[in-house]
């Protein structure tokens, strides 16, 4: 089958608008629930499109951020009983005073988009490691690790920081230079 057709007009990238000229920061705080993922995807896609990324690059950014946010929802607060992966009888309300949120910070710069996915949980360094290849994923019979593979391969730079409590995952995607575009 052929899928290399020219996208229909409604899927073609919007004309790049006037360059920002400075960094614009947009922050979102959301509950750690899977139902917020579609809203986060919508926001991130809109920002990336507005910055001038191609349809394919917007889709990659959208998927990488979705995977990063999913990791927070599933793993960051699991130790205190907040995770959709837990059976119902092991789930709890967050203790008073516990910041139990998914925090997304997007920096829109003239030449790149930088997105931080932040939590105040146990730290994602203890999460099961991602796979290094699709072959490794198949060897695991499809049991996990693909999300982190997508994050590493769909973004230009990926960095994990552990500032004492929780995790700051910083993902950067660069706009093509005029020569590359």
């Amino acid at each position: 089958m052929s899928h290399d057709r020219t996208p229909p007009p409604d899927q073609q990238p919007a004309a790049p608008r006037e360059p920002l000229g400075e960094t614009v920061e947009i922050e979102v705080k959301a509950p750690v629930e899977t139902r917020v993922l579609s809203l986060i995807r919508t926001l991130v896609s809109a920002m990336a499109t507005d910055l001038g990324f191609s349809v394919e690059e917007v889709e990659r950014i959208e998927l990488a951020v979705d995977e990063a946010a999913t990791n927070v929802v599933r793993h960051a607060y699991k130790h205190i009983g907040v995770s959709p992966d837990l059976p119902p009888h092991e789930r709890h309300e967050p203790p008073p005073g516990q910041d139990c949120t998914l925090h997304i910070r997007a920096e829109l710069q003239p030449h790149c988009m930088r997105i931080c996915v932040i939590d105040k949980g146990i730290g994602l360094q203890n999460m099961p490691p991602g796979v290094n290849s699709i072959d490794e994923y198949l060897e695991r019979r499809g049991n996990g690790g693909l999300g982190n593979f997508i994050i590493r391969n769909f973004m230009d730079e990926v960095r994990y920081d552990y500032p004492g409590q929780g995790t700051v995952l910083t993902m950067t995607k660069y706009l093509p230079t005029p020569q590359e575009a």
Binding site: M1, S2, H3, R5, P7, Q11, T34, R35, L37, S38, R41, E56, E59, R60, L63, D66, E67, T70, V73, R74, P84, I134, L138, R141, G142, N143, G144, L146, G147, F149, I150, F154
Partner: protein, 118 residues
């Protein structure tokens, strides 16, 4: 539009596969319901499953893993999962990650006989 829906077509005499339309998104929010419905269907002993994904607008690793789970389960009994008419966006995810070589993907009903090895 709802974020996710599943339309399970009734079994038809003479049709050697069950057809299911997947509508909306397959992500960490919707995948649990998808897996429960489809594995329940397979519990009835269905060997061949056709997922019409022309209205699937988004798929994440959670959705891909669910498709892998169905593929493994069906192939254990010499069955097959076939994906029909992926959207450009979903197909690009499969292609970029290399899953076009793993899943059986067809673009029209006329390709089903070959895809299911009938």
């Amino acid at each position: 539009m709802k974020s996710y829906d599943l339309l399970i077509h009734p079994a038809e005499d003479g049709t050697p596969f069950r057809r299911v339309d997947v509508i909306g998104t397959l992500d960490s929010h919707t995948v649990q319901g998808f897996e429960q419905s489809l594995h329940s269907l397979l519990d009835d002993g269905i060997p061949r499953l056709l997922l019409n994904i022309e209205q699937l607008t988004y798929i994440s690793s959670a959705g891909i893993s669910a498709l892998m789970g169905l593929t493994h389960r069906l192939r254990q009994t010499n069955g097959e999962l076939v994906l029909l008419k992926p959207t450009e966006k979903v197909y690009r995810v499969f292609r970029t990650l290399g899953f076009t070589n793993i899943f059986k993907i067809v673009d029209s009903d006329t390709e089903l006989t070959a895809a299911f090895n009938l």
